[in-house]
């Protein structure tokens, strides 16, 4: 009862904060702070702000689902190589002209890459992996995806491609347009809808596989849908914004002290907290060239890593035997 009230208050608070950041996102751009001309608002700031919110929401939610489903506090789509796989898939569709001929090839490439990485992860690490096994499998998949990404970019037909590796490895939302929003939104929304329905299955899983089975929540079913939803959400987002790490890791950990351990209680709040976190990080990257002597925006993933890496160290210390 108390937790429910905390959840409701938390959701209200996060929604208010998110709304404030959305307004700030429309007011802040390379042209300065203030209400811009209509086309700047609609063609530049709106898609950027909505993409940051949507992608952050997807990453936060998939982090909460993966941590619940794998019963491992270190699970995060970026850390486990799902983001890397998505970046590889989206990048291949982009630089070889497939997405220029058929625009939806971009998110499709992303979610195929993410799906492949999910499949490899579950195969390598098993159903209920130990922390080290999961992280090792994730490190292997991440490293392989980054290496293949670099190789593919050096072979890409466009001479500018190699310089764009920071975008695919660290993410970014600069100069995205409404068409990017239209490409990323459907898979993220669909994947999000799938993941949000997994609450009862995840709760049952937290009691152990046998109990889950006896509660009528088959483990395989829950994990399979978790993988499909994650691939849609991460694949769609990464295809247009590159691979942004740590959001999925940090968000559930920030929420647990208030909302408790039950996975289902975290899902909706993770959506809002993920959106808030990534939009806040994106606002910082927009403001950085105005505040610091930078000639360009820092990649989005740099900010989330600055926040997330110390977090990961803290978690790793507490879960270490």
């Amino acid at each position: 009862m108390k937790k429910q009230r905390a959840t409701r208050a938390m959701i209200k608070g996060l929604a208010a904060l998110l709304l404030a950041l959305v307004v700030a996102g429309l007011l802040l751009g390379a042209g300065g702070f203030g209400w811009p001309a209509r086309e700047i608002l609609v063609e530049l700031r709106l898609p950027r702000t909505l993409l940051a919110g949507l992608i952050g929401a997807g990453l936060g939610l998939s982090g909460a689902v993966l941590q619940g489903g794998l019963r491992n506090p270190l699970a995060d789509p970026g850390l486990l190589g799902i983001g890397g796989g998505a970046a590889l898939g989206g990048m291949l569709a982009f630089y070889w002209g497939v997405s220029a001929a058929f625009a939806p090839a971009l998110p499709i490439g992303g979610l195929l890459g993410a799906g492949l990485a999910c499949f490899a992860l579950f195969t390598l690490a098993g159903r209920a992996p130990s922390g080290p096994a999961l992280i090792l499998a994730g490190v292997a998949i991440s490293a392989l995806a980054a290496a293949l990404l670099t190789l593919a970019l050096t072979l890409a037909p466009n001479p500018f491609a190699l310089a764009e590796i920071t975008f695919w490895l660290m993410g970014g939302l600069q100069d995205r347009s409404l068409s990017h929003l239209a490409l990323a939104a459907p898979p993220i929304l669909l994947g999000g809808a799938i993941l949000l329905r997994l609450g009862p299955g995840l709760d049952a899983l937290s009691l152990g596989e046998d109990v889950a089975q006896s509660l009528g929540q088959p483990v395989g079913h829950t994990l399979r849908w978790a993988a499909v939803g994650t691939a849609l959400v991460v694949g769609g987002g990464t295809a247009v914004a590159g691979s942004v790490g740590f959001v999925g890791l940090v968000v559930p950990h920030l929420l647990r002290p208030w909302l408790g351990e039950r996975p289902s209680g975290l899902l909706l709040a993770s959506v809002l907290a993920g959106a808030t976190l990534l939009l806040g990080a994106d606002l910082l990257t927009r403001a950085a060239p105005m505040l610091l002597p930078l000639s360009q925006e820092p990649p989005l993933g740099v900010l989330t890593a600055l926040l997330g890496a110390p977090f990961l160290i803290r978690i790793a210390r507490t879960v270490a035997p």
Binding site: G29, A30, G31, P36, A37, E39, I40, E43, L44, F94, Y95, W96, G97, S99, A100, A156, P157, N158, P159, F160, A161, A163, E164, F167, D175, S177, L178, S179, S295, Q296
Partner: protein, 247 residues
């Protein structure tokens, strides 16, 4: 056996004795000035996004900037830029090849000087003079007008620097180079749109850098697209870019 094949290969290529060019820009000078003397060009000369004479270049062999490969052609002259592949050029000079380095021209004065010089080097002074006469005729046809403010936008938002070839082209076409080397953001361009945007057609394959040029926020600004090859190297053909810009 292998020695015989090698000897045959070298003997075969010896018939094509002539001039080897190892740089995209000298490739184009050679194609314009003395196509009959070409022994080999660089690979880039056949790329339609980089080379004005890409089709003509396909009729000639190409060679890598590799001393052994070049020596096998026994050229009596090697054309190159004065940057890049310097180790290769030094090796060629050690083997007695004559190497002429070109200072790639960035202004019409420099284009005139370089065309005349390479015409002398290749022994085709009359053709060089003819190309320059035609270039000056094209430039003279550009109507005088009060300068129009324009931005020549390159991938990732870079712009033509003052003193660069693109700056010289814009001036000759009666355009005021507004950005002059500043890096432009899409918001800046949308907020203070120039009277004219000049862009090179993006290469066939996409990249984030060239996608910048296709962002819908730029759709409302009057835009002129040039063939990208015209912006790469300065030469008598640069007048064609000026004629297009002046329209």
């Amino acid at each position: 056996m292998r020695a015989i094949i090698l000897a045959l290969l070298i003997a075969g290529s010896a018939q094509a004795r002539g001039v080897v060019s190892l740089n995209l820009c000298t490739d184009q000078f050679l194609l314009a000035l003395a196509p009959e003397r070409i022994a080999a060009l660089s690979f880039l000369a056949r790329d339609t996004t980089l080379s004005v004479f890409a089709e003509a270049a396909k009729a000639h062999p190409w060679v890598r900037a590799d001393a052994e490969a070049v020596l096998a052609l026994e050229p009596d002259l090697v054309l190159a830029a004065n940057w890049g592949a310097q180790a290769t050029l030094a090796a060629l000079e050690r083997h007695g090849s004559q190497v002429v380095r070109s200072d790639l021209p960035q202004s019409f004065t420099a284009i005139r000087a370089e065309t005349t010089r390479l015409g002398q080097v290749l022994g085709v002074e009359a053709r060089a003079a003819d190309l320059l006469t035609r270039m000056d005729r094209t430039l003279a046809m550009v109507a005088r007008r009060s300068p129009v403010g324009a931005v020549l936008l390159q991938p990732r938002g870079y712009t033509g620097q003052a003193g660069s070839l693109t700056d010289a082209m814009m001036q000759a076409a009666g355009l005021r180079n507004l950005a002059a080397g500043m890096r432009m953001s899409l918001e800046q361009l949308a907020r203070q749109p120039p009277a004219l945007l000049v862009m090179a057609d993006a290469p066939a394959y996409p990249s984030l850098a060239t996608d910048f040029l296709r962002h819908p926020v730029l759709a409302g600004i009057k835009t002129m697209r040039l063939p990208p090859a015209l912006l790469v190297c300065g030469g008598p053909w640069t007048a064609d870019a000026v004629a297009m810009l002046a329209l």
